[in-house]
Amino acid sequence: MEDAARLLQLVVNGAAAGCIYGLIALGFVLIYKATEMINFAQGDIMMLGGFFAFSLIAHFGLNYWIGALLAILLTAAFGFALDAVVLRRVIGQPQFAVVMLTLGLGFIFRAYAGITWGYDSVGFETPFTNRTINLHGLILGQDNVSIIVGTVLLCGVLYLFFSHTRLGVAMQASSQNQLAAYYMGIPVRTVFSLIWAISAGVAAVAGILLSPVSMIDVNMGFLGIKAFAAAVLGGFGSIPGALVGGVVIGIVEQLAGYFLPAGFQEVTSNVVLLATLILRPQGLFAEIAGKRV
């Protein structure tokens, strides 16, 4: 019984961490599906979102929910501007130019955050901090549960948005076929910038949900590397795949940390990534069939 409870707890913790990976991966996938760019700065945008929330809640003393909402909107606006000002210029350049560009942007964001908020970890009081739920002897932290619930809610909202609103359908259309979308009168460039805004907003949600579990600090953007594994496992281009991939990675990582000797936990996500690329490059949920000549 003891072991089973311990195992379940590990799985829940892993799933919570995995939801964060999944949310970051969701940002990658949204952008990749639309513009075929990869945003290596996604993790750093999450970090910025976390810091925005920290400023609003801890400095200006706003209510948690209002502060979080404002921080998400702020980050989304930032994502919109990022695409409209910088990323739009490199369309048509070789793909790895974009990789390097976003890597460089990540450096700038990290330095900016370091100069503005300092290099120490910070945190703010949330309704979930240091509280637990007791389910028949199974003790779960509310922070972890809030991550899982928040992710599920966010996914529901995104699903409804993409399938039931005009803008959401326009986004799907522009991702599927740019030219046809232009012909139908969709302002594709604005729509792409809005997709960047959404993915930045999702990253901010991840940062805010993560803040009670691990503090906010300048280097939290490196989680983005693990989120790559999630996105690749899910098949880079499939939205449910990104989330499932994230949860799988999170759980595998927790279990590896428990059962395998020290040092294995850090490499699990990378090993899973390489194994996926070698054994099943199209990922679990393949959507992209091949290469157009």
Binding site: Y32, I38, F96, F107, A111, Y112, F228, N270, A289
Partner: protein, 358 residues
Amino acid sequence: MRYLFKTDYRQDITLWRHRGDLFWYGLLIVVLLLIPYVLSEFYIGELGGVFVFAVAGVGMMLLAGYTGLISLGNAAFLGIGAYTEAILLAHGVPLVVTLPVAGLFTGLFGILIGLPTLRMSGLYLAIATLAFGSIVGTVFQKWDAVTGGFDGFPVPTPDLFGMPVQGANGIYYLSLFVLVVVLWLSANLLRTPLGRAMVAIRDSEISAQSMGIHLARYKTFAFAVSAFITGLAGALFAHYVRYLAPDAFDVLLSVQFVTIVFVGGLGSLHGVIFGALFVRLLPQFIAIIRDDLPFGIGRMPGLEPSLFGFVLVIVILFEPGGIYGRWIKMKNWFQAYPLKRRTSFRRQKSYARSERLR
């Protein structure tokens, strides 16, 4: 201005365009050989560092600039080369043997990582090499029976024909020698059918394939050569730092190598030198002007990486040819003066190439 009158097809692939080239490069070598008698030891050490990074940059350039494969894991190759060199020297193997062995052993790893990644292109390759790099980095930290873990690994002072290679001057001459050899080999490689095949793959995989180029074979070769050269650079790096710490070979170092290639100018060996000068000397430059900057900007932590990121962004947005491309443009302006036309270097309008199949 000199006009080249070509009378032979071989002139297209000669190493020197004309005798003037030979003269200027020879003069550069002589100057570089004499520099240690003029400059202070500190600057010679820094120049040695530039040479080490330039060797690694050549490895990156052959891969990214000439074959079009991006790797974010070259720091792992550098680390493998460095540890191989240090461990072999600690077992008493002479430098003449360890240097090539470090390169070859790293080349083997290049083939290993090259083979499975051949099926990937662009983004997937960048992600896969990133993962490979961080796995190797973790192995360096945890496998302390071999690498000494976080205690570090002291690099013995090597002997070359009875003379100890030590101090700034020793590293300077050793890495200058390796750099010249590597540059000469690469320049020669690029004019063989092998090198031409690599460039063809960069420009279009599909047309290269339809011309009969075996993609898997040449891509693996490019990885192997890149890893070999980076391994050599790693061996030099081991002597340069003299004490190996496992966390030196992280993603940031890989990013520095890619920065060398991008800032210097993709697709030119000259660019490697410019890029290495930039990457190694920028921190020194910041250190010198640090106290003179207004508003205490100079004392802000994180100034250096943000400048790197900033320059990278500026270069990609405004001058994809890098420093070398800018140099060519300046040269052209003077040569054509006052007849420079605005359209001379206008960039062709380019469109996103989709990788999807619908």
